[in-house]
Symmetry: C2
Subunit: 278 residues, 2 copies
């Protein structure tokens, strides 16, 4: 349903206003129950994953590249605008020229996640870039899902989605309701928890891998701490195992997204087995 | 040398103007031979690494935390400003309240780098965040230096420095002059080159590690390709070995900073040995 819009104040564009204003967007998106996908590839992935679109905002030259998607959703408004108008509304130059607003849905529960074998668990990772990168690495390296504390950044925020290249749509994730009881709950469901922390009593990641293998442990959850301060003492103390990545050259730590990639590789199926299915 | 400044147009603040304007900063910094360090910790690391400061820009509350550094450089101007004025000049709210302008120096040559044993080699990594993250991961995981093609992003750009947490000061790096001859030059200097690429003929990273170990190869260079398109065909074809990180769940790739961390871990000293020195 193609609708040409020439007035940047047209209320039909309200889903797309000021996309760089994080605080405004947080409220707006949760109140209206929406999220924004940017770029043809990411929009396709969101729709393939089953999120229903509310509308599309496209500059002329993107209409044809998404024509099959638009035909499949011919009841959904497609706002055709100039790139200048898109910039006026969103507050930045939309490089990829295509935006979609989709219905926000919580697709998995904590129980769904607990039924899986390999999880990453994010404690207060507040940066959208990091959450996006962590979910992409986890999925790509053979981990099956992510649990996030309430204070962790929103996986469906535009920036998280973009950095994750849409992995946030396909990787199951859910919010933990009870931070304090999370590690105990994982243990009750048969997980060994590996806290990634530069603690004095931590074993090297390689040793952690051997310990888990000798256990023949199949349910593993990696606990990841917040950007600055790292994991809480509570989670470290309760975890089955504390593991660290050996550091060199006086560097005190890796960034949390890099550390997650290393841990997901070393403790996951890629690090020691050949994958049997793609 | 404490100097209070109350006029945002004061030309003594010219080193610090419009820090978010990437194009302006690129020209300004190379013409004047300077770079900007942000935050107390990063400023300390730049000075400890031997870069001479040109000036400091500080809000009142940061004077005391850097007092020892300022005392050691009492001939260098310290511009004391309000946070509002700092924001007017730089174009953003300086969270960490302290900025320094330092003399840009090329501290290592390509020959210095070729004398080392473990290098990462970046081909056209154009994003400052990625360059910063790559250098931090390389250093932290026991790699000794980085070579960058001419088109790769500047390790001394403010954003690179920040993401690297100052690793760009301590890890030796240099620019390759000849892209086309780079891989051949590495081989002439005794390196085995490992191209990280999702090519059909690539071996899994774990297998690459075993191959290098069975060779007792001590000089290793990891070749890393540009964000979108990956490594050039030329570098892949010339490399000793093409390695890939096995991917799962239909995810096509990791982001280049995450892939680098995984490769530096798997092929570096952390992945299979305990470090003998910190």
């Amino acid at each position: 349903m193609l609708i040409e819009i020439t007035d940047p104040a047209d209320p039909r564009l309200d889903d797309y206003i000021r996309l760089r204003d994080v605080n405004l967007r947080k409220h707006l998106e949760s109140e209206r129950g929406l999220f924004i996908a940017e770029g043809e590839k990411v929009i396709r992935r969101a729709i393939e994953a089953g999120y229903p679109p509310r509308s599309f905002l496209l500059a002329e030259r993107w209409l044809s590249s998404l024509s099959d998607v638009l035909a499949d959703h011919d009841q959904i408004p497609v706002y055709r605008v100039t790139e200048e108008l898109a910039e006026q509304v969103t507050g930045f130059h939309v490089h990829r020229g295509a935006l979609a607003s989709l219905h926000r849905q919580q697709r998995h529960t904590v129980d769904d996640l607990l039924a899986l074998d390999r999880l990453v668990v994010a404690e207060d990772i507040v940066d959208h870039t990091n959450v996006g990168a962590i979910l992409r690495s986890a999925a790509g390296l053979g981990w099956q899902g992510a649990l996030l504390t309430q204070r962790s950044a929103d996986p469906l925020y535009r920036r998280s989605i973009k950095v994750s290249m849409g992995s946030v749509f396909s990787l199951p994730w859910a919010r933990l309701e009870d931070w304090g009881g999370a590690v105990g709950m994982l243990h009750e469901h048969g997980f060994r928890t590996v806290a990634l922390a530069l603690a004095n009593d931590a074993v090297d990641l390689d040793q952690a891998r051997r310990l888990l293998q000798s256990d023949q442990q199949t349910k593993i959850a990696i606990l990841l701490g917040t950007e600055g301060a790292g994991l809480s003492r509570r989670w470290i103390d309760q975890s089955s195992l504390v593991a660290k990545i050996p550091m060199y050259a006086g560097i005190d730590s890796l960034n949390v997204a890099a550390a997650t990639a290393v841990a997901c590789y070393a403790l996951g199926p890629s690090g020691h087995d050949r994958p049997t299915s793609a």
